[in-house]
Symmetry: C2
Amino acid sequence: MSSFTEENYLKIIYNLSAWQEGEVSTNALAEQTQTRAASVTDMLRKLADKNLIHYKKYQGVRLTPEGERVALQVIRKHRLWEVFLVDKLGFGWDEVHPLAEELEHINSEKLIQKLDAFLGHPSADPHGDPIPDPAGRMPHPEHCRLTEVVPGQAVVLVGVTEHSAPFLQFLDRTGLTLGCRLEVVEVNAFDGSVQVGISGNAPQFVSQAVARNLLVS
Amino acid sequence: MSSFTEENYLKIIYNLSAWQEGEVSTNALAEQTQTRAASVTDMLRKLADKNLIHYKKYQGVRLTPEGERVALQVIRKHRLWEVFLVDKLGFGWDEVHPLAEELEHINSEKLIQKLDAFLGHPSADPHGDPIPDPAGRMPHPEHCRLTEVVPGQAVVLVGVTEHSAPFLQFLDRTGLTLGCRLEVVEVNAFDGSVQVGISGNAPQFVSQAVARNLLVS
DNA sequence: ATTAAAATTTAGACCAATCTAAAAATTTAT
DNA sequence: ATAAATTTTTAGATTGGTCTAAATTTTAAT
Ligand SMILES: [Mn+2]
Ligand SMILES: [Mn+2]
Ligand SMILES: [Mn+2]
Ligand SMILES: [Mn+2]
């Protein structure tokens, strides 16, 4: 059995590994866990003792197959609870992450199986992130960033790579909800901003910083 | 803010107070919390420092108004989650208590308000226990034990005072589900057992030990 | 190749929640 | 009223997760 804290470390290691090649650093974990590097080192020794991570001093860390299994279960629970909060309870997609951070640590195979069925076996959470299947297999849907779309192309918004409440609230105000149709009119070579028609409306400018965090397909 | 552990102590003190007059003893708390008396004493000092309980050494303990407020919030959450698990996810009433023990510690006013609305503002949990309102007022519905019903009287099963899984599963097998009609045919003076018609079926015998834990109105 | 800077680990401490063993207070029995 | 039994509290230790400050290792710069 893994504690609340251990599960958080494993999940964070998984997520950091997904966005960079090679091992995860102690400092990166300290930042994500909101603790100090010394505390991270202590926890890494414990996780290594439990064979949940591969760890060599000063060399960074990566998950073992068992560690990855645990991480994927936690992520599965997190994302299913987010779907519940948005689809069933009517929360906004900008509000649910902190609640899911708590709910994800409730450990009951049966609970999550029944929740999954109640939600209709969703394949993605409210931010478009894929939900691992019960066996812990993570789907890898086809998509690219809005910055990579060529002018004239029409696409659908399927996900975001930034989850902060201010960013998501900005998208709400701009009409950029998941599933909306986007038609790229022009990519500004000067600042990388994108002129885009949202759901058939008159084109608007979206900064490169925003466009970079929009996943489309 | 109260920790997970503190909330459990307050809830248990509330429940023990409801079933006996006067203060709650250290040993009773040790039994309910599955810890040792020494651990209870430590925690009582902490709760007293936070003004959540009245505590005089060797004299037992009772909740302050603030302690009772916290306890009732936890109980409200516990019972709402039990309704969710049974009504929405399809759990049996014998399975939900341990899960609710975990879910009750998720602290979000908004979550519980939305959950309450989603469930249609239920007034009782799957065991017939009343759900405190958002302000923490606990309803006290009219009811009595089946052992107090006189022969010939027809009543409705509205609650149980024993929550163990074996007991609840026995009720399921016997057809004693919440809301069913009960007609008391005879109370056996010898062993206190009750002969009762369940939902219009041929009368059956129910032991006094069982009848004592059935609430009717 | 040295040196400076940055990252990481160790040493030693703290806090919450628990334990066992022993001491003190209260209750019950004689 | 005294002694015995029970309950409760104290003393001292442990575990998980965290911290600061200092030492060590790795990486980057000269
Ligand atoms: Mn999230
Ligand atoms: Mn998400
Ligand atoms: Mn319960
Ligand atoms: Mn209940």
